[in-house]
Symmetry: C3
Subunit: 344 residues, 3 copies
C-alpha cells in the first residue's frame, strides 16, 4: 500500500530505524539533515528525500516547507537535545505524540511525581548533602546522553567530588543544578514499550542494556590494576546490547507500563502518553524493578531490533521494530480517519 503521506525525522539517534519502518509500511520518507551527514544518510535507498539545514537548531527554517508536503514528523532523543522543549512545541508540522508530555519528561521533579502516581518503585532522592546516608549517584539535570554523573559513597566523598562537577550545559535554564539519588546496586534493564491510543494496548517490543564508556570497560581490568590506574568512571552511552528478562517478571513490566500510561492520562491530560516510551530500570536481587528514568519517545536501544525482536515476535508475525510500529500506528490512524488522535 502506497500512502500519500511522508514520514520525516531529524538525521540522528534512530532516524534509520524510523524511516526504514516508515518505508516498510508504505510511506514516503524524508530526512532533515545537516550538511556533514548528507552523504551518510544518502547511502540508504529507503530515504526518499533530504532537506538540509545548517544545524539541527535551525529546524524552524524548514517547518513551513514540511507542512506543505503532508509530512508527519517523528521525534526522537535529538529533538529535545537540539531544540529544547520550547523548540519542540513551536513546531507546526504534524508531530507524532503528545507535546504536553515533554514538560513532564524534561523536568526530573515532574517525572518523579508521574512515576510516583504510577506507583513505580524509584531510588530515594536526597534533598541535600546532609541527608546522604548511603552510596549516591549525582546527576546533572537534563537528558544529555549520560555525561554529568558521579558516584559518591558518603557525605564527605560527595563534598569532595561536587567541587569539580560541572552540571551539563543543557541544564543551564533550570534552577537547580543536580540531583542526589540513592545508588542502587543491581543490573540495568531498559524496557521498550509502545502504547496505542487506538487499541488501548501496551506492547513490550524489546529490551536492552546500554553500553557505556568507560564504565562497561573497567570491569575487564583486574581490581589490583585498577587501584594503580587513574580511572575516572564515565557513563557516556555509545551503544546498546540485547537482553531478555525472566518471564515471571514480565507481568510486572507490563503492569508498570500500564500504570505509567494511566497516570499520564490523569496528571498530564486526557491523551497522556502514547507511542513509544522506555522505562529505564535497575533490577535488584529481590527481582524488583527500580525505575531511574523514563524516556517518553523512541530510545536508541531499539536500534538493536531493526531486523527482529524476541518480544515483538510474540505479537507480530513479521519483523516489527519500534520505528515500524510507529509508522503502523500512523497508517492505522489514517485508515480509521483518526490521524489527529496520534499527532500534535
Amino acid at each position: 500500500m502506497k500512502l500519500n503521506y511522508t514520514i520525516a525525522t531529524l538525521g540522528s539517534h534512530s532516524a534509520l530505524q524510523i524511516l526504514k519502518g516508515a518505508k516498510d509500511e508504505g510511506f514516503k520518507t524524508l530526512i532533515v539533515v545537516t550538511p556533514d551527514r548528507q552523504k551518510f544518510y544518502g547511502r540508504f535507498p529507503f530515504i526518499d528525500k533530504q532537506m538540509v539545514i545548517p544545524t539541527y537548531k535551525d529546524f524552524a527554517r524548514v517547518d513551513a516547507q514540511l507542512q506543505k508536503q503532508k509530512v508527519i514528523l517523528i521525534p526522537h532523543g535529538s529533538f529535545v537535545a537540539y531544540l529544547g522543549v520550547a523548540g519542540n512545541k513551536e513546531i507546526k508540522t504534524p508531530y507524532f505524540g503528545n507535546k504536553k508530555v515533554l514538560d513532564w519528561e524534561g523536568d526530573r521533579n515532574q517525572q518523579r511525581k508521574w512515576l510516583t502516581e504510577a506507583k513505580i518503585r524509584q531510588p530515594r532522592i536526597f534533598k541535600n548533602a546532609a541527608e546522604i546516608d548511603c552510596p549516591v549517584i549525582v546527576k546533572g539535570f537534563g537528558a544529555d546522553g549520560g555525561q554529568g554523573y558521579f558516584v559518591a559513597q558518603t557525605q564527605k566523598d560527595f563534598a569532595q567530588q561536587i567541587k569539580s562537577f560541572a552540571a551539563p550545559t543543557s541544564a543551564a535554564t533550570e534552577s537547580k543544578k543536580y540531583l542526589i539519588q540513592e545508588y542502587i546496586v543491581g543490573v540495568p534493564m531498559y524496557l521498550h514499550f509502545f502504547y496505542s491510543p487506538i487499541t488501548k494496548q501496551v506492547e513490550l517490543l524489546s529490551m536492552d542494556r546500554r553500553y557505556e564508556t568507560n564504565v562497561d570497560g573497567i570491569g575487564r581490568i583486574p581490581a589490583n590494576q585498577q587501584m594503580q590506574m587513574p580511572i575516572s568512571p564515565s557513563f557516556v552511552v555509545v551503544g546498546n546490547s540485547p537482553l531478555v528478562v525472566r518471564e515471571s517478571m514480565l507481568a510486572e513490566a507490563y503492569e508498570m507500563a500500564e500504570r505509567f500510561v494511566t497516570a499520564s492520562q490523569k496528571i498530564i491530560d486526557q491523551r497522556g502518553i502514547f507511542g513509544p516510551f522506555c522505562l529505564e530500570t535497575i533490577v535488584t536481587p529481590d527481582q524488583k524493578f527500580h525505575c531511574i528514568e523514563a524516556s517518553c519517545r523512541i530510545v536508541a536501544g531499539t536500534n538493536l531490533f531493526i531486523d527482529s525482536s524476541p518480544y515483538a515476535s510474540l505479537i507480530y508475525d513479521e519483523p516489527m521494530s519500534t520505528g515500524r510500529r510507529i509508522a503502523r500506528e500512523i497508517k492505522i490512524a489514517i485508515q480509521k480517519k483518526c490521524l489527529e488522535e496520534v499527532i500534535d
Copy 2:
C-alpha cells in the same frame, strides 16, 4: 496443518516461547495459570485457553481435566521448582520428556556421576572444608534460580561465611545442605541443545550468558569505590544475553552433548534424556568447557531466540526456537505414530 492435540504448560519461565512455538506448528494451546497472571497471559492471542489454579503447587487439581482434552504438557524450570520431583512424577497428563531423568537432574551427586560417565570436565568438589585448597563457590542444593551461593578464598574465609549461609528451602529434604566447588575463573557460556529420539541427532540451537543481579552490575563500579561500598555479591538470574562461541570449540560442544545423551541411556534407562537440555559451562583460557551444571529441560536463556537464532538457522530454514522445536518433535511423533516415544 491443524493438529488435534493441545500443547499446555504452566504460566511461567518459557511458557510464551513454548506456546508460540506450539501454535506455529499447528497445535491448540493452553496455559495453566494463577489468577495474578491471567491478565498477563491473556495478552497473547496464540494462547487459546487458560485453566486457572490458585497456586502452581495445586497443579494436581487440573490434571484429570487435562487428560480428557488430548493435552501434552511441556515441563520447564518452574515444574520442579513448584511441584518437586515427586509432584512431577504424579502428573498423569502426557508429559514431554523422560521423568526418570528428574532424579538425576535434581540431585547434585547423581548429576555429577552422569557428567563423569559422559567424560565432561567438571570443577573439583571438596567433601569438607578441610580439603579446600583454592578459591571455592559454595552452593545450596536444589535449583532455585541462583540464590544461595557464596565465594570463599580460603578455609578460614569459608568458616567465616558459612555461619550466615542459609541453604535454600527447596533443599530442605536433602541430607546435605551445600556443595563446595572449585571456583573456575573464566567466562560463562550456556549451550542449548535438543536431542531427538526420532532422528537420533543432537542439535545446538542457541547459546546465552545469564544476566545476574547484582554480580553483572558490580564490574561497572571502579575497584576503589567497590572497596568502600558494602556490596555483597548475589547471583539471582533476572535475564539473559546472547552469545556465539568460537567455531573451533563447536565440535567439542556437540560431542559433549552426545556423550551426555549416551551416558543417560546407559545409567538412567534406555530412553535416557531427550528433548531440550542445557550444559552450563565456564570457559577457561585454554578454551576448555567446564560444566558446572546440566539442566535437563528448556532453559530460560532460549527466550532470547524466540524470533531467530544464528545456530538454529544453520539447521532450519525458518525461525526455530527451542519451544517450537519441542512442538515440531511432537508433531513428527504424531505423524509417525510414535507419540509414546516422546512422552511420559
Copy 3:
C-alpha cells in the same frame, strides 16, 4: 539459481557461515577439513562435500585438486594462522580477496602506516620501555587469537612483567617480539564492513564485542575478593556478543572504512582491500573510535549474525550475513563476467 562454481573454505573460524551463505546464493559447497572435524561438519546438509587433509598446514596437498573443480576459496582467520602469509600466497586455487593485503595486515608496522594514511585514530606506540608514560598494553606480534598480551602501569611494572612474557610462536620469524601500546580506557567495538569493488560501496553489516576469557569474567568478582585471589588476566577470544552503536557515530564509522579502503588503493595496489574487513576499536568517553587493529577478512564476530543483523537489514530485504555477502559478490561478479576482479 544454480551456479556452476563451488565455494570452499577450511573447516574452522566462520566456515559454517561462509558455506551456508554460499548455499543460499546457489553455489555448491566444499569444506577442507581435518579428520577430527569430519563428523562435526558432516552434520550440516548445506555442506555438499568434504576434502580431508591431515592438518590445516597440509593445504597444499589438495590445492591442485581444487583447481580442477571450479572452486573459489574463501579465506578466514585460520588461513593465516595455519598457513602463514607465504602459505596463502602459494595457493593456486582462485582465492577471494587481494593477497597483497596480507603483507600489510600481518605486520603491525605496516598496518600502522596504513591506518595512519587513512587518518584513523590509533593508540600511541612506545618504541621502548624508557618512553612509557601511561598505562600500556604489551602485545606479541602476530594474530593468534588474543593470547600473548599483558597490561603494565609503569616502566617498573613493565620491567617486572616482560621477564615472564613469552611472545607467541607465530611471531618467531619477525625481528621484534612485542609492541608497547597505550592502554585506552574505554569500551571495545568491532565494526564489520564489506567493500564491493563492483559497486564501489562500503557496507556496515554488523558489530560485536568479543567475549574473552578470563577478562570478561573477572568483573563479576567483587574487588575485595579479586584482591585476595591470584588472578592473572587473559584475553583469549572464545565467543562474541552483539552490539549496536550510537547512530551519530555511524557516519564516522562509514567514513573511517572508506578512508581505509582508499588508503589501501594508494599504498598497496590499485585494487587495495575489498570484501569483508573489521576495524577493531576502543570507544572513549569523547565518542571517538581508537583503532587497535584491522582484520582484513571475515571476522568471527560476524557469526552472531548468520540469521539476521540490524545493520544488514537496512541494506538488504533478506537476511544477509557477511558469509552470504561474500557469495553474493562472487555471484554478481560471475554474472557480470568480472570474476577476476574479486579473486587472486
